[in-house]
């Protein structure tokens, strides 16, 4: 049982981060904290992908005498793209929050909801 837990520790780490991130997105009313939660959630997936490509005892995939086992570089490349996507999402999200703050004088979800309801 302990072995099982330890051998799969990379999954536990990413699941823990994933749940923490999702919880922050759901629970917090501060719009910036929500974005941070979203970032943690995405990062957990990156870790999942990167740890997936690791081969025990494997080295970087460069052909060199004396090495026969290589880690899979493809997940790393994929995650490079996904990181760019995540940065872009965060940038757009923060830009939105700046504008929301300008228009509503608040970045608290519940306060904004109250203002919106009063408008109707």
């Amino acid at each position: 049982m302990i072995d099982y837990l330890i051998n799969h520790y990379n999954y536990w780490v990413s699941i823990l981060l994933m749940m923490a991130g999702l919880y922050i997105v759901i629970d917090h009313t501060n719009l910036i904290k929500k974005l941070i939660g979203l970032n943690i959630f995405q990062t957990s997936v990156f870790i999942l992908f990167i740890s997936m490509g690791k081969v025990d005892g494997g080295t970087a995939p460069i052909l060199e005498q004396g090495y026969s086992s290589f880690s899979n570089p493809l997940p790393h490349v994929l995650i490079l793209t996904a990181i760019v996507v995540s940065v872009a999402t965060t940038a757009v999200g923060l830009a939105l929050v700046v504008n929301i703050n300008r228009c509503f004088q608040s970045i608290d979800e519940q306060e904004i909801e109250k203002i919106e309801l009063e408008e109707e």
Partner: protein
């Protein structure tokens, strides 16, 4: 020669055009450029459709790298069909958008608006054209991130909060899809869809493949706005600039639906998705709830754009219901409705754009007596509204007809009753708008309101005529859908 490169040109042309568009000077030029590009890509998609029809599914290898190593573009009947649909609607929307954008968006942002629009368009085309699972994620995010920016440009400040909510939900959905892709790659070692299709049967007993299936289901349903994951959609459609509402309402959820077909029929295969993991058991109740609840909610909306957005949620229910029937007839009905509903909703949101350009409001009470001043716009709304309800001689009737036939084929008459009942609900909400337009006295200050500009009207009627044409001569979409469904089920 160039004909063999159409699959990649379809995506690369708008992708390259987008940054160029942002460099153009403040004038009509960005609009003209974006419109020309969109019609050009429409021509390419037509050429692709002809190629697919003549020689079967197209496989295009990027940079001539052979399949599992390089990225492959794969366009079969359903792909070519959706490409034509998306590019035609983008072209009509862009043609009509100049006046709308000038009124709704500050002059200095025009070039950037068209840039974001082209990027969103690229993303949607890319999702359809690609045959690589990771590529799907990248294009999905290209289209989503640009659509967050597009929605946030709406005049009302609620557009900002709507866009923010969409960003949170959309990112969670896309990340779920990414997890699904990762788990599949872990088990099969490939990202190519056709390759995945072959290899998945060797590993379909593994828990991680089942988990991947679950992540895909939730992620795609979030993008599709299937009940109960629909919360981001109504505000996003209601407060976005009119041109964006037209484009997204007619195409974005349709592309998500295409992705659903692709993942569950092509990658996982019908037997695994429906017989082993019973996707139908999840889709069936959710579709029914979506149809009933969204139609009820639509009745009580004060703004017509929100009303139409809720109606869209109900219509998505019809499309997923077709899939949930787990038969070929159901899949065909779903594809036909995908096609018809794109034009119907496009036409209805186009009418809203016309009304907004003259009345500066789409609240239901502000539309009182609109038919006196804007007869053509209101007539277009009535026709498209009838199509939405499913009156004979409109394309909506064809969709409902095939859907009900598919249901009766399974002997689920109670379900047919529910479908007809929700059609009655749509009579109620469409009638509320028509009543205001035709039977109420106009407000006193609206005396000098004129009909919407000719170009807007032409574009609106273009979509309305499509709905009538495909309501009378339905052979084209029905043949296409049958062919596409056969290919998907193979």
């Amino acid at each position: 020669m160039i004909g063999s490169h159409y699959p990649i040109l379809q995506v690369v042309v708008p992708l390259v055009a987008a940054p160029l568009c942002s460099l153009l000077p403040k004038s009509k030029l960005p609009w003209l450029f974006a419109t020309v590009i969109s019609w050009l890509t429409f021509a390419i998609s037509l050429a692709l459709l002809v190629q697919v029809k003549n020689s079967g599914a197209l496989i295009y290898e990027l940079g001539d790298w052979p399949a599992p190593w390089g990225i492959q573009y794969y366009i079969d009947t359903i792909g070519a069909f959706v490409l034509v649909l998306v590019s035609l609607i983008a072209s009509i929307t862009l043609l009509a958008s100049r006046e709308l954008i000038e009124k709704e968006i500050a002059q200095e942002k025009h070039a950037l608006f068209y840039t974001a629009f082209l990027l969103c368009y690229t993303g949607l085309l890319g999702i359809v054209a690609t045959g690589d699972a990771f590529n799907v994620f990248v294009f999905l995010e290209i289209s989503s991130i640009s659509s967050y920016a597009l929605i946030a440009m709406g005049e009302n400040r609620k557009a900002l909060t709507a866009s923010y909510e969409y960003l949170i939900m959309g990112t969670i959905g896309a990340t779920f899809i990414l997890i699904g892709i990762g788990l599949l790659y872990m088990q099969t070692g490939t990202l190519n869809m056709l390759d995945l299709k072959q290899r998945i049967h060797e590993v379909d007993g593994f828990r991680s493949v089942h988990a991947a299936f679950a992540f895909f289901t939730v992620g795609i349903c979030l993008k599709l706005a299937l009940f109960p994951l629909h919360h981001w959609l109504p505000n996003a459609y209601a407060y976005a600039p009119s041109a964006v509402s037209i484009f997204l309402a007619a195409t974005a959820t349709k592309v998500a639906l295409y992705l659903l077909y692709r993942v569950f029929y092509t990658i996982f295969g019908f037997e695994f998705s429906f017989d082993t993991l019973h996707l139908g058991y999840i889709l069936l109740p959710l579709s029914i709830i979506a149809m009933v609840i969204s139609s009820f909610t639509a009745i009580f909306q004060l703004g017509v754009k929100r009303l139409l957005a809720y109606s869209s949620l109900g219509q998505i229910g019809y499309m997923t219901l077709g899939i949930a029937l787990e038969t070929k007839a159901g899949l065909i009905a779903s594809i036909i409705h995908l096609f018809n509903h794109a034009f119907i909703k496009g036409a209805l949101f186009m009418c809203m754009a016309c009304l907004l350009s003259r009345l500066h409001s789409t609240r239901i009470t502000d539309l009182a007596g609109a038919a006196q001043h804007m007869p053509w716009t209101c007539a277009a709304f009535v026709t498209a509204g009838l199509a939405l309800i499913g009156v004979p001689l409109t394309s909506g009737f064809i969709s409902k007809w095939y859907l009900v036939l598919a249901i009766l084929e399974k002997d689920w008459w109670w379900l047919a009753v529910i479908v007809l009942f929700t059609s009655l609900l749509s009579v109620v909400y469409i009638w509320r708008v028509i009543e205001q337009m035709y039977l109420r006295e106009a407000n006193s200050h609206s005396a000098n309101i004129k009909e919407a500009s000719p170009i807007l009207l032409i574009c609106t009627w273009l979509m309305v005529i499509m709905t009538i044409y495909f309501g009378i001569d339905n052979s084209y979409p029905v043949n296409m859908a049958t062919h596409a469904a056969e290919a998907l089920l193979k």
